[in-house]
C-alpha cells in the first residue's frame, strides 16, 4: 500500500516539470486567449470591456479574414498533397541502390535545415521580374517577363511552391525510415509470386507506410497553418491580400493594429478549424491504417 503510494508520488514528481511547462506555455495562454476574445482591446481612452460575441461577428464579417481563410485552405491542399507525393517518390528513389545516394539524400534534405527567412530572401531574388533567376531563364528561352509576386493570380502559387520545396525533404526522412523497416522477405516473396514493382508498391509498401502518412499529413496540415515566415519577406500578404494567410493576419491584428482581442478571436477560430481538420483526418485515416 505504502509502496504503491510512493510510486504514485514518484510518478507525479516525474511529470511535474512537463506539466508546469505545458500549463505555462500552452494551456493557460489558450485559456486567456479564449477569455480575452470576449473583451474589447483596452486603451487609455477606451478601457477594455465585455462585448460578448461582437469580435466573432466582426471576424465573420471581415472580408480580409475570409479571404485569408480561403487562401489558407487552398494553400493547405496545394502544399500537402504534392509534398507528400514528392516525399514518397524521393524516399523510394534514395532507398534504391543508386550511386552517390548519400549525396542525393543530403541534397533532398538541405531545404529543410535552412531557415525560412534566409530561404525567402533567396527566393525573392528568384521571383524578381527581369533580374530574377526564373525570369532570366524564361527570357533566354524566349518567354516574356512575369511579375510573379506582383500579380494576384500567381503570388499564392509561388508561395506554395516554396513550401513544397521546403517540406518534401523533411517528410522524405520519415518515409525513408519507414521504408527501411519493411522486412525484405516481403519483397522476396512478392518476387517469387511474380508481382510487378507497381503492384508491390500499391499492395504492400504503400499500406505499410500508412501510419507514417497519417503522421506526415497531420504535420503538413499544421505547417500549412503555422508556417508564415516567408510572407514577412516575400509579400506581406499582398498584393491586396492575395497571399494573406490566417496566422499572418493574426500577427497583423496583434502587432500592427495593436488589437490583441481581435487577434485572440481569430486565434480561437484558427484553433477550431485545426481541431475539426484533425478529427476528420483521424476518422478518415483510421479505417485505412494498418498498424503492425
Amino acid at each position: 500500500m505504502f509502496k504503491n503510494n510512493l510510486s504514485q508520488v514518484y510518478a507525479w514528481l516525474l511529470i511535474t516539470p512537463a506539466l508546469i511547462l505545458m500549463g505555462l506555455f500552452t494551456h493557460i495562454p489558450s485559456f486567456t486567449t479564449l477569455i480575452s476574445s470576449f473583451f474589447s482591446t483596452g486603451t487609455k481612452k477606451f478601457p477594455s470591456k465585455f462585448i460578448g460575441f461582437e469580435n466573432y461577428e466582426l471576424a465573420l464579417d471581415d472580408p480580409i479574414f475570409l479571404e485569408a481563410v480561403l487562401n489558407n485552405l487552398w494553400y493547405a491542399v496545394a502544399t500537402i498533397i504534392p509534398s507528400v507525393f514528392l516525399a514518397i517518390l524521393m524516399a523510394l528513389f534514395v532507398d534504391s541502390k543508386i550511386k552517390g545516394r548519400v549525396l542525393v539524400r543530403m541534397a533532398y534534405f538541405t531545404p529543410t535545415i535552412l531557415p525560412m527567412i534566409a530561404v525567402s530572401n533567396i527566393w525573392l531574388f528568384f521571383y524578381t521580374p527581369e533580374i530574377g533567376l526564373i525570369d532570366q531563364i524564361a527570357i533566354n528561352l524566349g518567354f516574356g517577363s512575369q511579375n510573379w509576386l506582383g500579380d494576384k493570380e500567381t503570388v499564392l502559387n509561388c508561395l506554395i511552391l516554396i513550401t513544397i520545396w521546403k517540406e518534401a525533404g523533411f517528410f522524405m526522412i520519415f518515409y525513408l525510415a519507414a521504408l527501411q523497416n519493411i522486412p525484405p522477405e516481403l519483397k522476396e516473396a512478392a518476387k517469387i509470386e511474380g508481382a510487378s514493382k507497381y503492384y508491390f508498391f500499391r499492395r504492400i509498401t504503400f499500406p505499410l507506410l500508412m501510419p507514417i502518412t497519417l503522421f506526415v499529413v497531420i504535420n503538413a496540415t499544421l505547417n500549412s497553418f503555422k508556417l508564415v515566415d516567408h510572407l514577412f519577406i516575400l509579400t506581406k500578404g499582398g498584393p491586396d491580400n492575395a497571399s494573406n494567410l490566417i496566422l499572418y493576419y493574426i500577427y497583423e491584428s496583434a502587432f500592427s493594429f495593436l488589437d490583441s482581442s481581435y487577434a485572440a478571436t481569430l486565434t480561437v477560430i484558427l484553433l477550431l478549424i485545426l481541431a475539426i481538420v484533425s478529427i476528420v483526418q483521424f476518422v478518415l485515416f483510421d479505417k485505412r491504417i494498418h498498424y503492425r
Binding site: 524578381t128 527581369e130 506582383g150 500579380d151
Partner: protein, 424 residues
Amino acid sequence: MLKKIKISFIGLTTIVFVMSFATKLFSIELNMYYPVAVGGPLTKIVDGMVNDFERKNPDVKVNAIYAGNYNDARIKALAALKSGKPAQLSVMFSIDIYELIEQDAIVPFDDLVTSYEDKAWLYSFYPTLMENGVTDGKVWGIPFQRSTIVMYYNKDLFRKAGLNPNKPPNTWNELVSYGKKIKSSTNSWGVMIPSTGYPYWMFGALTMQNDQVLMNGDGNVTYFDHPNVVGALQFWHDLGNKHKVMPSGTIEWGTLRKNFLEGKTAIMWHSTGNLTTVKKNAKFDFGVAMLPASKRRGTPTGGGNFYIFKKSSEAEKKASMRLIKFMTSPEQAAHWSMATGYMGVSPASYQTSALTNYVKQFPPALVARDQLNYATAELSTFQTGRVRKLLDDAIQSALTGNKTPKSALKGAQKNAEKLLKRYK
C-alpha cells in the same frame, strides 16, 4: 578549508560592494530602442554617437538596443512597457504617435522643456519634419532619422535615350514622355515606384503632387476618395497599364534598389535613406532629383522620431532630454546625415562645416532638404495600422487591375470613416 571559504567569501562581498559602488557612478541608466529600416551599417553609427555622448556625460549610461524594423521596435517598446521594465526613450516610426498616445505611453516634450533655451530648441527643426510629431497643440516626437522620397535616375540611360542627363523630369507629363523614350530606345523601364512594403508612403507623394493631403492634423479624418486622390491613383495605375513605362502589377520595395543598380529601370522613387548605399554601389553615372509635379511638387516625410516614455523618473526624463538634444545637435545630425543619407534635421546642421563641405562635393545630398519646402506629413491617424492597411490594399487592388482606382478608394474611405468615428 573553512578558512579558505571564509576568505573567498569576504573577497566576493568586497567585489560585489565595489561593483555596486561603480555602477552608482553612472547615476542614471537609460534604455533606448531604435529601429533600422534601410540598408547600411546603421547600428555601428548609432553606437558611435552614443559612445560620444557617454564620454561627455559620464553620469549617464545608455543602452542602445537595436530592435529590428519600425514595427518590431514599436512592439518591443510597448511589450517592455507592459512588463514593467520599460525603456526610457526610443526612436520609433514618426507615424506611431497616435497609437502611443492612445496607449498612454509617451509624454509631450512641452512638459519637459522649462528654460527659454529649451523651448527655442523645440522650434529649431524643419517645420515639415515636426508635422508628424505634433498633435493636440503639443510636441510628442523629435525628428531623428528622417527622410523623404526622392527620384534616383540613371544618367547613362538618359544619354542613351537622347535625353539631357542633367534635366530629370519635372512634371508628370515629362515623366511619361521621358519614360516612353527610354523604353523605346533602351532595354529598360522608364520608371519604377515601389508598391509593396510602404505603398501608402509613395502614394502620399503622388497625392501631394496632385495637391491633396491624405488626412487631417488631428488624425481622425481621411480624404481617400477626394477626386485629386483618385486622380493620383489613376496616374500610378496608368504608368504601368496605359503608358507602359513601368511594369504592371505591384513592384517590390526590397528588390527595387537592385533593379535600379542593374540598370533595369532608368528612374526609381525611393527613400533618401538609400542614398549612401546607391552612391557606393552604382556603376553608372546617377543623379538625384526632386519628385516631379502635377499641380505642385510634393512628398511625404518619413522615418523615425525620438519619444520619451511616461513610465520613467523625472531624473531619467531629464537625462533622456540631454541624450536627444545631443543626438539631434547640428554636429551630430550632420555626421548622421553624411553616414546614412538621412536628412540633417535642422537648418543649423546644414551650416556646419562638415556638411557644407560634403554637399559641395556631393550635391545630391541637398535634394531631400530642398524638397522639404514641398513636403507634408506621412499618413498617420488613430487606428493607424488598420487605416494604413485599408489604403495599402486599395492601392494594390487598383495597381493589379482588380478594382478601379475610384471604387477601391471609395471602399477604403468608407471603412476608414467607420474606424475613426469614435475618435471625433
